[in-house]
Symmetry: C2
């Protein structure tokens, strides 16, 4: 891979931009429902790499110029992602007390508020993304982007993947089912980010289909790297418990193939994503560098 | 009130129509995520009066003709409503084992699936309503209706009301807060139903604002009637536990004002709704009859 100069500084600039966008679209903490707004914002402001909004923005930049148009969707995708983390951490699901080094939402606000603030973030994502219609006369792009977001989030996307993951917790599962879970639980939202970015930026159907393939491969690489870090990293580095897969008898790429083989697969998926990107006429060197960086991340 | 002939038969026709529409838009029970689809459909097919889709349809009929256009929103509003019931029944919230005479969703499918299938129904509502764009060239109406649905569902609508209700469970609360809870937890979705129906049918802003007032009053009447039935009805009639408000030390219109005064308020809100409706140039006699029927319902 070509060296990308000042990658860290460039990533920092984008992370700060994403952070600013996200905070601008958060609900106000006022009125009777103030506590729920606080719970929503607590989880939204818990740090995180903001990868999905950055992927959305960078894919938008491949095709379009007026990037303000991408902002409600950048905030929206992070709300959808955060909603899934809040619910994942609930006692009825993973029962985790810590996330990103802080107490999880239900530990601070109680379980009922954990359920409700999670759902409210999902709904607020739609409320926020719908505001894009006021920013453009090209309603068609917004409609197509909204459809992708809803499909990739729902039963045929992320939530479907979560449900299968939860249903088969601790069970022996087939490679086919494991791939289904990864493609849905993790890849689907990466696909939603990049496809919505592409569509809002003006990508045609063919280009959007290629972006979906890129995103699918990135998602797989990202999830397998997650499995690897669960085995090779420390709790302090990661900001969440490690060795949890082993403890929970969870089938992963690492338990199936071992760390070394899994690492090769991460590299293969990343290279696959990179090679499709390079064959597109629209270039974004930062995006390519980001993908390779994601594949070698340590946390 | 003017007598409406064959009201029961006419209501039955509309209930069956709503039922058919809802079932047509449910997710398919296939693939790896089959269990979640089953859980979603279990709760969607548990009976219920289908009041919100019927209100949506009847308000649509005041303004528009091609009522097929209202169908995805009829299904969508029932999905949003049902999602809130599934979550309300969870152990972390009301901890109810029965709803409409059947085991609640989490009792059949487990708590994790209760959380996830509830959220999935909310998301599927958006997926479904977004399909309306394929059925009309008038995108603007669909956009406006979607905005209303998202605002009335979220933190400034139903979910906001639920959060305040949950947060103040068993506490002494002010009349002001009680009204906030009723207007949001209950009225907001009635408003969403009728406003979306009006907008999709072609109502202008002024007409939509009047419909919002009608729906707000209907919602209040409906919720206060709910409080009354909790005291005066039997568990068998209602299909869910009675006297639960007293048991949970819940402040309601009945605990504040007594059954007789609360009944008067139901009548007042219903007459208010009726009188605004009658001043609109677009008439729907069945809708007026339905409102009065809702105010005197026994279950």
């Amino acid at each position: 891979m070509e060296h990308y100069e000042n990658f860290k500084e460039e990533l920092q600039i984008r992370t700060e931009y994403a952070e600013k966008v996200i905070r601008r679209w958060l609900p106000k903490e006022s009125g009777f429902a103030r506590t729920m707004a606080e719970a929503m914002n607590y989880s939204m402001c818990a740090g995180g790499k903001r990868l999905r909004p950055i992927l959305l923005l960078e894919t938008f930049r491949m095709f379009g110029e007026d990037e303000q148009l991408a902002e409600p969707f950048m905030a929206g995708i992070e709300m959808i992602h955060t909603h899934s983390l809040i619910h994942d951490d609930l006692p009825a699901i993973d029962n985790d007390d810590y996330r990103r080094g802080r107490l999880t939402t239900h530990k601070v606000y109680g379980e009922a508020m954990g359920v409700l603030s999670g759902v409210s973030l999902l709904n607020y994502a739609y409320e926020t993304m719908l505001k894009t219609f006021e920013m453009t006369s090209d309603a068609d792009r917004v409609i197509r982007a909204l459809k992708i977001m809803s499909e990739k989030t729902g039963i045929h996307g992320m939530l479907g993947g979560q449900s299968v993951d939860v249903e088969n917790d601790g069970k022996e599962i087939s490679r086919e089912m494991l791939d289904y879970i990864y493609e849905h639980k993790t890849s689907a939202l990466i696909e939603a980010s990049m496809m919505a970015g592409a569509i809002l930026g003006g990508a045609d159907e063919e280009q959007t289909a290629l972006i979906e393939k890129v995103a699918s491969a990135i998602g797989m690489a990202f999830q397998i790297q997650d499995d690897i870090l669960d085995v090779t990293s420390s709790s302090q580095e990661l900001g969440k418990p490690v060795h949890s897969d082993e403890k929970n008898h969870k089938v992963t790429y690492v338990t199936l193939f071992g760390v070394e083989k899994a690492s090769e697969q991460v590299l293969q998926f990343s290279e696959q994503a990179q090679s499709i990107l390079e064959n597109l006429s629209n270039k974004n060197k930062f995006l390519t560098a980001l993908i390779m960086e994601m594949a070698s991340r340590r946390k």
